[in-house]
Symmetry: C2
Subunit: 244 residues, 2 copies
């Protein structure tokens, strides 16, 4: 921001040099920037140092590199903020509560049309289905309605979800590479009111999530929380992807 006059490392100076040209518009989005050896000539640093600077810009998403071709200014990021959504078990235990749950349904069933679409599978092929209620200190806090792709978690039906939540198990099992979220507000239906012990006029938060690992759809989950008892939230620290 303001002048950091502290002695910057050279690789940081090089990063700033590139970022300045990008941010000022001299190097436009998608354009090629000078090669490493050209920057060596321009700035007089060694190629290793230039390489480190630009490699870091690459992992920070500011430039894209293609071996044998060159380095290009990356498209600007869409304006967005990130919200961290913790697993319900973690959240409850973090505030000192006792988590328990009631598993209402845990079975394999043929995929309905909508579930098959969500999981990118053929209709009527088997999917694992879990329907359960999470409780904090005995009070119902969340309905979890989850479908899982059997190919990625064949052991899913044998698990004891009073010991580990489905979410935690899947996060342990495989790396999540992509997530789609939808959060909406609506009124609960009769069954949900019964399970959550709330009145029919109470607004609920519904959080739907689909997640992928590589090119495989892992799971589709719908979580319903009573608005009066629960709200999703969290604090997120942006690991430094700063300019300068």
């Amino acid at each position: 921001m303001l002048q950091d006059t502290w002695p910057k490392p050279l690789y940081q100076t090089i990063k700033n040099y590139v970022l300045d040209h990008i941010d000022s518009g001299k190097w436009k989005s998608g354009a090629r920037i000078p090669s490493e050896s050209e920057i060596v000539k321009i700035l007089g640093a060694s190629r290793m140092t230039v390489n480190r600077a630009i490699r870091e810009l690459s992992v920070e998403g500011r430039v894209t590199r293609i071996q044998g071709v060159g380095t290009f200014v990356a498209e600007p990021k869409p304006k967005a903020t990130l919200l961290e959504i913790r697993s319900i078990g973690e959240e409850i235990s973090q505030r000192g509560g006792i988590h328990s749950c009631r598993v209402i349904l845990q079975r394999s069933e043929p995929a309905s049309k909508s579930v098959a679409t969500a999981l990118n599978m053929a209709p009527n092929s088997p999917v694992f289905h879990v329907y359960m209620v999470h409780r904090e200190n005995g009070r119902p806090m969340q309905i979890e309605d989850r479908y899982v792709n059997p190919a990625v978690a064949p052991e899913f039906l044998d698990l004891d979800f009073t010991q580990i939540t489905p979410s935690d198990h899947l996060l342990d099992l495989l790396p999540v590479t992509e997530i789609e979220h939808k959060i909406s507000s609506r009124l609960a239906d009769k069954q949900e009111c019964d399970l959550l012990q709330i009145s029919p006029s109470e607004p609920c938060l519904e959080l739907c999530r689909r997640s992928w690992s590589g090119n495989r759809t892992v799971t589709h989950v719908r979580m319903v929380n009573p608005g009066s008892k629960y709200n999703v939230g969290g604090r997120f620290h942006v690991s430094d992807m700063t300019h300068s």
Copy 2:
């Protein structure tokens, strides 16, 4: 997951070596790991290569380094998923809609007790306050109720928010380093019903956000969306912080 048998770069092998020791529990959380020169002796790589490997693990948050002291295993990350929340202007224009807005209030006012707490300021010190309604194709979509720390954005009152949304302006102005979100579901009050043109029984999504830049609190915003017309969501790609 399974062993990729493709020829790994040496620095990746070193990263895996360290990660294996961490994940297997041989090097426990908080413990010191061998120094660079020790790993040089163990693995036979050069110090520069070891340095790159461990530096990358450092930015990936797996280890913490202290110059002159050593390298330590970082605390494990809490289980969480990330939700990307786009700015409303972006979201509307992305689906082809026309964004407009009505600025109801844009002024400086003394901070109430709750606002002062939220922004970490003294009560009654001046804060900037904006209250506005965002519209998509002329239909009200969101109420934005925002307080801004005057110290970080002194020009805030002079802006024309029909041209750029407050969120976009602040994101352009300074890097956000920390964000706190809370999403809840509730019924709108009478004024909100009028502004959003909804019925009093319709559940609404309320998204509260506080954001920081460095050690300064930047803004506190409350956004109210009618549940029938709007839901927050998005797709998030996890940039590869994989093991192996």
